[in-house]
């Protein structure tokens, strides 16, 4: 186990180097000059040139990259081009907001996805199976920014409810923006979690259906086990194996999704930070955020693989 974790951590090093290199190249390929943006559009040439020099933007690319990497290795992600503030700080303030958003959404995805998947699989071709799978298809095909806007419209701005429905007058139950309170958390989490829930539901269903046909399920029934035990103890644990892999990959999509969700709900997280930074060609912020996101993704997937190992005893990590 220890060697495995060690090996996996060692493996992340080239991944992270690759990520920084890729982001670095891409940022320099897209048009737009950060110095120009900082100085303002009508600024004199000398001023722009001064800024360029100060930021080291005139150095050859390999030198710039080397300077950046050696900074990173010392824990220095550089300073924001736009605000001049320390990138580590800028990310640090927003990091937990995004992690919370991603974490709650993930929990919602897994919870809804598993329940829907199990119910569907154990009642194959029934009314509830068909309904759930249609709902899942909707969840899957709906762009999450659209879902976010609709949720704001319905449950944050609110709809007037006809007077013949008792107790409810208006559906403005939640807040449309910000992060922290329960009223603020609910809608973004639903927005971000729906897609994942749909994928996990479909995956759980097909995986369960496959496992239910296995010989060891018949063995469990032949032992005299109750159907509930057969489904939850014998089938589910095996069916989860492919689902866990999907959950890990899903986390990447989720991190990408935070960018849109945070923008729609005006949440001051890493997603919003990176969008603003890209618009301002604020290289150090973009680099830093992507690096942190990549690290997060790699860590979550390491966790997933360890869970996978726990579920699937046939995989010998060493």
């Amino acid at each position: 186990m220890f060697t495995y974790v060690l090996r996996r951590i060692l493996q992340t090093i080239p991944v992270l180097i690759g990520v920084t290199l890729l982001v670095f190249s891409l940022m320099h390929l897209i048009p737009g000059d950060p110095a120009q943006i900082m100085a303002g559009e009508s600024a004199p040439k000398e001023q722009v040139e001064n800024i360029r020099e100060r930021l080291g933007l005139n150095d050859p690319y390999p030198v710039q990259y080397w300077n950046y990497i050696s900074g990173v290795l010392q824990g220095d992600l550089g300073n924001s081009v736009r605000t001049g503030r320390d990138v580590t700080n800028e990310i640090g303030v927003r990091f937990w907001v995004t992690v919370e958003l991603a974490f709650y959404s993930m929990i919602l995805s897994i919870f809804l996805g598993l329940i829907a998947g199990i119910v569907s699989a154990t009642r194959q071709y029934s009314f509830s199976d068909v309904t759930l799978m249609i709902v899942a298809l909707f969840g899957l095909s709906m762009p999450n920014f659209w879902l976010g806007l609709m949720l704001i419209q319905w449950f944050a701005i609110g709809m007037d409810v006809p007077s013949w429905i008792p107790f409810i007058e208006n559906t403005a139950w939640f807040k449309p923006s910000g992060w922290g309170s329960f009223e603020q958390i609910v809608l973004p989490v639903i927005t971000l979690g729906t897609g994942g829930a749909a994928i996990i539901a479909r995956m759980t269903r097909s995986s369960m259906l496959e496992v239910i046909d296995q010989d060891y399920i018949r063995t469990a029934r032949a032992k005299g086990a109750k159907e509930r035990v057969v489904v939850y103890r014998h089938a589910l644990k095996n069916a989860l194996i492919p689902v866990v892999t999907v959950v890990g990959l899903q986390f990447g999509a989720l991190l990408g999704g935070t960018v849109l969700t945070e923008t729609v709900f005006a949440i001051n997280g890493m997603g919003k930070l990176v969008i603003d930074a890209i618009q301002a060609r604020d290289f150090p912020i973009v680099q830093g955020t992507v690096l942190v996101a990549a690290l997060l993704f790699v860590l979550v997937n390491l966790l997933v693989d360890i869970t996978y190992r726990y579920l699937n005893k046939r995989i010998d990590l060493n």
Partner: protein, 344 residues
């Protein structure tokens, strides 16, 4: 003479069992009116080729036939009570306690995510309500009983850490945990090598004596039947074509299919000059079964009357055969010698 026995001497009596698979296009009668009995303490073998319905028959007894299969008729009397009248809850109390089952593939029949011990424990928990510690103690005893070396180590291992033979021993340990009166073994050694097969068959025979069990052995291997069974049912296309004691089946088979099956098996203890005798053609597809005798299209002796389905008739030895040749209605060659083609 299994069928003349009084019912209290039979642990299991199957009468006219019918199990059908319903699909949108067709109804396949996998088991089509099967009747036989298992005398107490004896081993009955059911042999047949793929598609004969032998495995579905065994699954029907425990009512474990998966959808779209359904038992549509007949009765299965276990100790005088019809299992088909029982509720699902009552059936669960019988499965694994009074009637146990082991399957063909020891590789896939054990749950890969639980240890050997956990899987045996479960049987004790379900049927005897034992707690963890006492269940584990009993599981260890079971592992010892089925001859697993260093059981203290094996009990905490996962199925993939065990060889095929060991896994089948674990399956047997699970099946016999609650001391069942009837063990159904569905191709228990088919996936195993000969030397391991010999070990497992020896173990089943040995435990049968120790625990006074009756055994229903489903197999396609005639050698396994000859070595282990007291009575044999030969199935073809969902029906029993012959039922007899083991010596009669091998020394004096009656049904042309049994004869053909025995002679097409290349023996390992003597040489055959020239070609092996064969049964021509192939097993008919289950949705295109012949109306009369199911074997007639492949039978060398078939005559006009074979277009009518013969009954399973008990002869003077108490053995049963489903063939017109042995009735007074036979309209084919009166001198027909079913066993003539056999080389022994």
């Amino acid at each position: 003479m299994p069928n003349t026995n009084k019912s209290e001497e039979n642990i299991l009596e199957i009468n006219n069992l019918q199990t059908t698979f319903f699909t949108e296009e067709s109804e396949v009668k996998a088991v089509d009116g099967v009747s036989f009995t298992i005398p107490k303490g004896k081993t009955v073998g059911v042999v047949g080729e793929s598609g004969s319905g032998k495995s579905i028959t065994s699954l029907s007894i425990l009512r474990l036939v998966d959808k779209p299969g359904k038992i549509v008729g007949g009765e299965i009397k276990f100790k005088g009570e019809n299992l088909l009248d029982k509720s699902e809850t009552e059936m669960r109390k019988i499965r694994g306690k009074e009637i146990s089952m082991i399957f063909q593939e020891p590789m896939t029949s054990l749950n890969p995510t639980y240890t050997v011990g956990q899987q045996i424990n479960e049987a004790f928990k379900i049927h005897e309500g034992l707690g963890k510690t006492s269940a584990r103690k009993r599981s260890l005893e079971m592992l010892k009983l089925v001859g697993i070396p260093s059981p203290e180590k094996r009990i905490d291992q996962y199925p993939h850490e065990l060889s095929g033979g060991m896994r089948q021993r674990v399956m047997i340990a699970i099946a016999l945990a609650c001391n069942p009166e009837l063990l159904i073994a569905d191709e228990p050694t088919t996936a195993l090598d000969v030397t391991i097969q010999a070990q497992i068959l020896e173990l089943i025979k040995d435990l049968q004596q120790k625990l006074h069990m009756s055994v229903l052995l489903i197999t396609h291997d005639l050698g396994v039947v000859a070595e282990t069974c007291d009575y044999v049912a030969v199935m073809y296309c969902g029906k029993i074509v012959e039922f007899a004691d083991v010596k009669s089946i091998f020394n004096n088979p009656q049904h042309p299919y049994t004869v053909g099956l025995l002679s097409s098996l290349p023996p390992h203890d003597r040489d055959i000059e020239g070609d092996l005798p064969v049964i021509p053609g192939a097993v008919p597809s289950p949705d295109e079964l012949p109306v009369g005798c199911r074997f007639a299209p492949r039978c060398a002796h078939a005559s006009d009357i074979c277009n009518t389905l013969p009954n399973l008739v008990t002869n003077e030895n108490g053995n049963q055969v489903r063939c017109w040749i042995y009735s007074d209605k036979w309209d084919g060659n009166p001198e027909v010698e079913v066993n003539a083609e056999r080389t022994t």
